[in-house]
């Protein structure tokens, strides 16, 4: 079962410039494992050295923050879309 994952601009260098990729899994955790297996360059950007999701990368299942669902245990289906929303600071210079 493949779920669509939207990749933000700063992370597209790690997905061969693709803005959306697919990964398989029954939960968000499984999806991310499959995603980082297919695109190993993403791993360092999503997880810290302790293997925990980085706190400046937010994950949204459809329009809801997964911190307010069941985090990585949140079940997903093929009709869902997972978005990675990193913090960006640009604006002035």
């Amino acid at each position: 079962m493949a779920t669509k994952i939207l990749i933000p601009t700063p992370l597209r260098p790690y997905t061969d410039k693709q803005e959306a990729v697919e990964a398989s899994g029954a939960t968000i955790g499984e999806l991310l494992t499959d995603l980082t297996t297919r695109h190993p360059g993403l791993k360092a950007h999503l997880y810290n050295e302790q293997g925990k999701l980085r706190s400046f990368v937010n994950l949204y299942l459809n329009d809801e923050d997964i911190r307010y669902l069941q985090k990585e245990a949140t079940p997903v289906s093929a009709s869902d879309t997972l978005s990675i929303i990193p913090s960006v600071a640009g604006g002035s210079r």
Binding site: I85, V88, G90, G91
Partner: protein, 393 residues
Amino acid sequence: MNANALPELNKDEIKRYSRHLIMPEVGVDGQKRLKAGSVLCIGAGGLGSPAAMYLAAAGVGRIGVVDFDVVDFSNLQRQIIHGTKDVGRSKLASAKDRLLDINPHIQVDVYEESLTSENALRLFEPYDVILDGTDNFPTRYLTNDACVLLGKPNAYGSIFRFEGQASVFSTKEGPCYRCLYPEPPPPGLVPSCAEGGVLGVLPGVIGVIQATEAIKLLTGIGEPLIGRFMIYDALRMKFRELKLRKDPECPVCGTHPTVTTLIDYEEFCGLRPAVSEEQIAVATNAGSATEISAVELKARLDRGDQLKIVDVREPNEYQINRIPGSQLIPLGEIPRRYAELDPNDEIVVQCKMGGRSAKAADYLRSVGFKRVLNLKGGILDWVDKVDPSQPKY
């Protein structure tokens, strides 16, 4: 504010704002609220330019601008408040002239200083709305925390390449920036606009969203962008809206805040380590063995040293300028292409300013490369100090 206490509009102002006045949602009262209102723009750059210009045109009575930069040719692709004639002038002088040219009925106050924990509360205090258009994480967290401490709404916008984000943070009922991003990314992991580039019209869209929200907050009309995060993708021309929640555990706006005064934001963002001077000295010495300056690199190449130069920028950047003999492997391709390099070679990695190449160097070391040097200051330093015949970008 009580409608009776609002400032009157004179004849010139009534003529100027007539397209507002004939709309019942704004009307004379709304226009007076704009006249009584004030917005402080942090930064007169990509976001601050269009935002401040529209706020001035709309008749916001007092506009403040904080900046300490000078107008450069590379700003003009997007910072439309400045013109070619302003190159070399202070951004504030240029911005003030432009804003008062658009609307002489308003007051423009400029603050030629960098925003710090020492001056933020004083600068924000007189304003109704703060418009965050800065370009770095320390100032964004500082702006957020100062807004929360003072109870002032923050019309937030941020941009990167083709993507923008906007929201209204730090209202009493809504979430703040820290509810969304409790911690900043480590330095170097997220490139700046100067490194990553930005489509010139993008800050126009996002800055005008910020100005729209500021106007709605001042007039009290519509549905403000509170508790919602707008993401705009210019290439796909798509807006997406995500839900934001006020985090009860938030260290600034939560129920038991642990941040009750402004802190050292450089340190918070990992830009100035909270360690002893001795530790810094050790770290600096360790660092120097992994870096090389442009001048040293030139000297070693002239001496005939066998150095493999790997340029980790993107192909379009490589087209603009390059170090002769370098091999292009964009940072994102390093994990699957590093086998093209010989781990026994002495390798110099290089990008535009040294940030991306530092990451590439870390990666190469992690997969067993022993002799990897990062070119300090990147190609920009190379052009400045070794080969000024090449263009800079």
